[in-house]
Amino acid sequence: MKITKEEVERVAHLARLNLSAQELETITGQLDTILSYVAKLDELDTAGVQAMTHAFSVSNAFREDRVTDSLARQEALANGPCQNGEAFVVPRII
């Protein structure tokens, strides 16, 4: 076994997902199959190999720090599932 139900539950919490008992059962099995498959990467010796971060050499993309137009507040709020015309509203945090 590459992964247990307890580990899947822990990862689901990290990913902010609730899984039903049925989902947990199915997904644990599927993740185990997938993780067993990707373990084939261990066949390759990667000692001293740089991890790839970009396909080709690029330098930082800087731009001038200039103020430009941005979305008007009403437009930015328009897709909010819960908003009061001034801000997004969420359940009490503290």
Partner: protein
Amino acid sequence: MNPYELTIAQASGQLAAGSLSSRELTQSCLDRIEAVDDKVKAFLVVTPEQALVQADEADTIRARGDAQPLCGIPLSMKDLLCTKGIVTTCGSRMLEHFVPPYDATVVEKLKGQGAVILGKVAMDEFAMGSTSENCAFRVPENPWKLGFVSGGSSGGSAASVAALECPGSLGSDTGGSIRQPASLCGIVGIKPTYGLVSRYGLVAFASSLDQVGPLTRDVTDCALMLNAISGYDPKDSTSVRQEVPDFSSSLTKGLQGVRVGVPREYFGEGLDPEVREVVTHGIEVLRDAGAEIIEVSLPRTDYCVAVYYLIATAEASSNLARYDGVSYGFRDLEVKTLMEMYKETRSQGFGAEVKRRILIGTYALSAGYYDAYYKKASQVRTLILGDFNRAFEQCDVLISPVVPTPAWKLGEKTENPLAMYLSDVLTISANLAGIPGISVPGGFSRDGLPIGIQLQGAHFREDSLFKVAYNLEQGLNLPPQRPGIA
């Protein structure tokens, strides 16, 4: 010939000559959608009123005589490209009611040329899938054989173009999502080099892999559309500041001096004999056109799927963290605590495949596993890129199949995620290496299903890709066939 049957280049010619108006062409495509989309199920949203307004504007520009090639051409957009004022769902319940306040840069560029947007087309949820069956709303079918998959994740784009509902579409390709559906639907689709096309306004899946690209009925149209969307965008820091060539100028006959590599690992076990036959014939066509054919090796091909399903899922788990129910998208409004708001919003808003990938990615990035999974995969990715760089010292373009088999029946692989992932084995490596790849129609199986041929090139060598693709298309000279729907 009905206007909806015209390619972009043909329609553009008639629009320029004044023998066709964009209104007539657009109406013809809208009528075609009305007639066949109940069966093909490509479109999630059709926007006829806006399309006809854009068509009239295009006709005005044409009348002034300063039109660009795509002026007045009706197109469909994969539903992960933001379209101002038009709902953009990404195939997900999470974004079912999301109306973007801005256009993606590629959409803005097409509109800037006077192109007409017909609507938004179906896709796998968040572009995660190989058949578009993960779409939360409707699943496109293969226009050549209903009941068979159109491919994915840009299945709606490919189906809409193959069904003659529109002459071109924009899709996105993270592991083959343009080339694979193009192959299964018998059309042309290109994934450009990473950085050639802006991704501003593309809903992010895996940011080191995602690229936007066109799907069209022939190579000429593909070059026209890529011309229109390429180039540096200050809003996408991964887009590259360099001159973009005119890809149409690469469409010339003759391949003297061009070296075409045949990667032997792409012709291994599991390759359908009919697919092998079509690609082998394609190689002979290129030889006849003057190309030198050489065998090359990409020794880490067998590891690409494993690398991809760690890197893509890790990046997705991070990108999709933004769906928290706060500023846009679905929220469970019933729950009382912040934590339950996050969890219920995401659990109800995401479908099974998206959850599966978020979990794999979160696991691969979590404390104690990062080195074994994500770092290891990123190191093997370096080796894969090295394989390609060595191959491109020996040849200009690689030829291979796109998909190991023709299209399969809807539902056939949905129970086994790993089997589905493995169907992407031949397209994934181009995304890992950041190189361009194109799928060109190669022929048909005995069951009448299309089979594509893949060409891959070195970074920013779309010009070579188009040259070889054009010669392949001209040399194959496939008899004109239309899918049998209505």
